[in-house]
Subunit: 329 residues, 2 copies
């Protein structure tokens, strides 16, 4: 899938500069560190977070000019936090591949993957510090929120009584906070008016919530081919997401579903659980919630002028809903 | 051992405020995160880095007044980077105890230890961001240097041809950079004149180099009882430190020492290697180098007025040399 902001006029050339800046930022006097720290950057990525930083920064610009270097750097800071967290995620999951290349831990071992992940967080923070204390503080707070969201998920793993509130706090920390910060940093760097900056932050947060819920729905409804990775993995890992939690509230299937949700779940049980959830009211409820967040995201943009960047952000939130609906059809 | 700045008039009460600030800083809306992230803080520590931040901040103060809250916070930022890195070190070493308590990974598993370590880095960066862009940038750069020093050590593990230059770069990153930053942040927060700030940074760096070399010498010469942990551990882990590298340059013992330095080293071979190094010229050479750094540290203080803090810093660098000499006597 392309960057969701594909209609942004300067996106392609801005993303090229982003790639250069990412590589330059992680370059180290210790050449081995450069190699390890650039591994996942070179594996590519949609650069959703830098894209949101760029779009947000130029949301009042009628012409859609190229992003300033500071905006590029702000987007890179958020992306490097994301990438650093992937280094640690892959250690924690014992993952062997990531973005179609060998994971860092598989290639160089856990020790180097942990250190390089920390190093990426440090480089991200250096970039942010150069953009002012507000950006630096925001990025640092984003790191803590990310960790809080992830540890909350771990704490409630394999617990079918996990609440919707805990689920929302977890995805807000692990996914939405990074998108909110990307948007806010883009706005802060270009010194947009405070109300616009706050709206864009709200956009990023709402988009992020919708995005993660859609992702969690796809894990239940999509095929391996559609996802490009094994579907139903969350159920194996004990991550009971919104469609699962709402399915457990559907009396028609809850009694059969609940006993399947254990640490010892087999592939066959996982497949059965997915069928049950798909047939339940939980799936549509989750989709409604995702739509609500996407609508909220779109709503934050209503007071903005009709600029190329505002159109791109709007198109991105519309796309999300389309993405969630296709596999249901 | 007490904090090396024990003669600082307000140290005790400033360190009490430091403990409170450390705990308050890592407090999270996710109560489980608070528990995991405060575990090693509660286990105590000498708080050497906060002490150096305080002493540096008041090096021009004839009265030795209590530290300001910003100085306390600056010291805490460095200490939290140190503690966060310990969380990750213990995962990497599969350690079971730290500071006489169960290590975080042993208590809650590697996943939570990795996340809580990241969280501590994030909280440290938040504190630093509130102290201005220069402090924020410095702290972020310290994180990257720490990781570079550690990965350089990993890269040259079990390599007896590791150079003295690589050794110095490694300990500069993993140990000295944190002490240099602690001193520099103390000076920056109190807006001391630039030449004084630079001298104090140099003090911290030189002190840190001397400190680590002394630590590495003690691993060769001290007993388990003197160290409070198993001596000779570096040899088992393949970390060939300055006394080892210089011993390998002593023709009288090199031929016997070199074949002992492998991944398969036994405890008996480790004991023999320590004997050989102790009997070699390498030990005294390393001690000379440590003395050189400690002298350099003391030299950075010569232009300072005779204040309580300057006296405490001088006493700390003198203590280092005493510490290194005792087990040789």
């Amino acid at each position: 899938m392309a960057n969701p902001l594909a209609i942004l006029p300067e996106l392609e050339s801005d993303l090229k500069r982003t790639e250069q800046e990412l590589l330059q930022t992680v370059s180290s006097g210790v050449s081995f560190m450069t190699e390890v720290a650039s591994h996942l950057i070179k594996a590519g990525g949609k650069r959703v977070r830098p894209g949101f930083a760029m779009a947000s920064s130029s949301v009042l610009d009628p012409d859609g000019k190229p992003a300033t270097m500071d905006v590029i750097r702000g987007g890179c800071a958020v992306e490097l936090v994301h990438i650093g967290s992937l280094y640690h995620d892959d250690v924690m999951d014992d993952a062997t591949t990531r973005r179609s290349v060998k994971s860092v831990n598989a290639e160089w071992g856990n020790l180097r993957a942990i250190l390089a992940g920390d190093y990426l967080l440090g480089r991200a923070s250096e970039l942010a510090a150069a953009l002012g204390t507000e950006v630096a503080g925001l990025l640092a707070n984003t790191i803590t929120q990310l960790c809080e969201g992830q540890i909350l998920e771990l704490e409630t793993a394999y617990n079918p009584d996990r609440t919707v509130d805990i689920y929302e706090r977890s995805i807000s920390g692990k996914t939405a906070s990074l998108l909110a910060s990307a948007c806010r940093i883009g706005a802060l760097v270009n010194e947009l008016p405070r109300p616009v900056t706050d709206s864009l932050t709200e956009f990023g947060l709402s988009y992020g919530m919708a995005f993660q819920i859609v992702d969690d729905i796809l894990d239940i409804v999509a095929t391996d081919e559609q996802l490009g990775k094994p579907a139903g993995n969350d159920l194996l890992e004990g991550i009971y997401t919104l469609p699962v939690l709402h399915a457990l509230g559907d009396d028609r299937i809850a009694d059969e579903l609940r006993p399947l949700l254990t640490r010892d779940i087999t592939s066959a049980q996982r497949d059965r659980a997915r069928e049950l959830i798909r047939a339940s009211s939980g799936l549509l409820t989750a989709l409604d919630v995702a739509r609500g967040w996407a609508d909220k995201a779109a709503g934050t943009l209503t007071d903005l002028p009709d600029t190329p960047a505002a159109r791109a952000l709007r198109a991105a939130s519309d796309d999300l809903i389309v993405r969630a609906s296709i596999p249901l059809g």
